[in-house]
Amino acid sequence: MNKIFLIIQREYLTRVKKKSFIIMTILGPLLMSTLLIVPVWLAMRDHEEPQKIEVVDDSFLFRDSIPQSKNVKFIYSEITIDKAQEDFYQTDFTGILHIPSNVITGGGAVKFYYKEQPGMAVEEYIKSNIEEMIYNFKLQKSNVDLKTIRNAHTSINLITEKITETGSTERTSTGVQMTMGFILGLLIYMFIFLYGAQVMRGVIEEKTSRIVEVIISSVRPFQLMMGKIIGVALVGLTQFLLWLVLTFSIYTAVQPVLFSGVNKEKLQKEMVKEEVFKQGANLQALKMDKPGLYDNKTYEAFDAFKSIDFVSIILCFLFYFLVGYLMYSALFAAIGAAVDAETDTQQFMLPITIPLVLSFVMAQTIMQEPSSSLAFWFSIIPLTSPVIMMVRLPFGVPIWELALSMSMLVLGFIFTTWLAARIYRTGILMYGKKVSYKELWKWLFYKG
């Protein structure tokens, strides 16, 4: 036991002291907080240079009536399009909008000439406004009252509520659950791949540097393997924690500076949307204080958020995160032991990556139907359950399914570790031999 602790300590310290670890630890939160800040900032920011557009309206229908906006100004002129084009560069117009006379019949195309490509938003703005004006114009021509049409449009708000067995109702919002499940599943997926591969590389390093035989004359191969797996797991957890702490410190530090003086109300709404997935509990309190600040949508998200049991989700996440990693990294260690160089790992990586990638791809479908039998089976099978169960959890999963899935995962972990240990102890002493699956199979039955 003392020796396995020594191994864990070495594996942990050598990795944590590496430059790449320190760089990743700093870069990670920078990237993540950029991901959090940039969308908000983009939404907040005053748009690009206002467009000043010369309108040449041959149909005379739109004169002075296309709605102006903050970013798009229309100036109507009475010259021909040819003249306008000719003089374009002598004017300060950013674009010329040419509306042909037969636009109403749908015969002529509306053309927009520009010096510099305008954004999608500007094009969309022009297109939809002209369309709407033609629509209204035609309705009027057919003596349809515009008000009647408007009243006929009804916008509804679909509120989903789950009735639990005890009869109480919970407000849910699939959007929140989806995002949350997806993020948690993604984290597990990334963690297994990143740190599983580190275990594999560590084993290959020991094998190619030929130190492994020295070490296993002092400790059992199983101790060396488990020491490495646990050491790397601790490195992963450390990095994960540092990322969380750093991301939020950067986020909280940068946000007041960046957004000072910007439209407060709008900003807060955006912020809520961002943070609703991160700091649900705190925000509920916030919401109670200033209910007036948020629109209906946000309310619903909060209610849905409140219905998610965070403590059990976090506990489940930690469980699937760790046991899923342990199960996979044992297999990664076995692969590392079976090969001589990282380039040889391809053929053995496939059976590991397939269930992982599959579960990640499946996650999209599972989110749509979190209670389907497909979702059930994939969240029970140990190789896919860490990702799939995380996707399903926020939607609510029956206790017995969760218990079954967890026990299956623990069994899966015990099985892969047993399997890996047998391949490992033979593989690490095997040099210069191209190993096949048949060979691996034989290794399973070698005696001590």
Partner: protein, 321 residues
């Protein structure tokens, strides 16, 4: 006469180890006496490494028993055995000192104790300046020194050295040789596996020769060399070569002759029950004898003869099949 059990530090009895396609060790038994240097010899692929790994409890035998100081071999003995594998290396990115400490602690040493001993050894091998360097910055010979230090640091009762001289220049190989002898004097027992037959003669008290998974020869080096004497002598004389050969023809066979100035050197093998005296009597009349000494076969000769014998038998049987 001391009790034979007491003298023995390690023994392996009837060890069999099979892999899927071949038998690595077939009923091999060895016994290593205390404070001896024991040579484990054999051609490549004979099964030496398999036996050594079993002795280190890296793998287990399919059948057979192992004893350390009369006790059945178990995990507690790990700290009393030092092992320098043939395929050896160090973590390339780790600092030399830190790594040596780590490996010593894995053998069960306390950190402070390991630190103290390491300092002594590093000074002795003149590599103190390298303590903070990464292993990848060291030359191969330097790395070998570190590995040797780590193997002997915990003062094991039994040292298992697999090709310890490979990678050393003659000067450093000599340092290691002297260290091995010093360790022996201080009470350690050493198992030496090597292809270098000169060092076997120089260092080993006993040997076991393994070929094709079987032990084909063992015993003390002196006895083995005596057993394999072929009644061959080298004689130096002044005088006529033709006269010499004519005089000795009946009782001996001429193997080799060389002339060095006025001195002639011949190698002869005595036939039948002839003794060197008989030979001298017959040649003394025609030549002036300068010297005579017996040629005892080297371990190299014995190795080649024994292993070659096994191979030629095999070749014949496979031909007749």
């Amino acid at each position: 006469m001391p009790n034979i059990k007491f003298m023995e530090i390690f023994s392996a009895k009837n060890i069999v180890k099979r892999y899927a396609s071949h038998t690595a060790l077939d009923d091999v038994s060895i016994s290593i006496s205390k404070q001896n240097v024991f040579g484990l010899l054999g051609p490549n692929g004979a099964g030496k490494t398999s036996l050594i790994r079993i002795m280190n409890q890296i793998t287990g035998p399919d059948s057979g028993e192992l004893f350390f100081e009369g006790e059945k071999l178990n995990q507690n003995h790990i700290s009393q055995i030092g092992y320098l594998p043939e395929e050896r290396g160090l973590y390339k990115k780790m600092e030399v000192g830190e790594q040596a400490l780590y490996l010593a602690q894995l053998k069960g040493m306390k950190r402070a104790e390991a630190m103290m001993k390491l300092k002594e050894w590093f000074e002795k091998f003149e590599i103190t300046a390298w303590w903070k360097k990464k292993v990848e910055e060291l030359s191969k010979g330097m790395q070998q020194k570190v590995q040797f230090i780590v193997t002997v640091l915990h003062e094991p009762k039994l040292l298992i050295l697999d090709e310890p001289f490979s990678g050393f220049d003659p000067i450093n190989a000599n340092i290691i040789k002297n260290e091995i002898l010093r360790l022996k004097v201080n009470g350690s027992t050493i198992l030496l596996s090597t292809h270098n037959m000169e060092s076997v003669e120089e260092l080993c008290d006993e040997i076991a020769l393994i070929n094709k998974s079987k032990k084909i020869l063992d015993g003390s080096v002196k006895d083995i060399r005596k057993t394999y004497r072929s009644n061959t002598y080298e004689i130096e004389f002044k005088g006529n070569m033709l006269g010499f050969t004519t005089a000795m023809w009946a009782g001996a066979k001429l193997l080799d002759q060389r002339q060095d100035g006025e001195i002639n050197r011949v190698k002869v093998q005595l036939l039948g029950s002839n003794t060197p005296n008989d030979l001298l009597q017959s040649v003394m009349r025609v030549s002036e004898i300068q010297g005579l000494h017996e040629i005892i076969p080297t371990m190299n000769d014995i190795f080649i003869a024994k292993v070659g014998e096994g191979n030629s038998v095999e070749a014949q049987t496979s031909l007749t099949e």
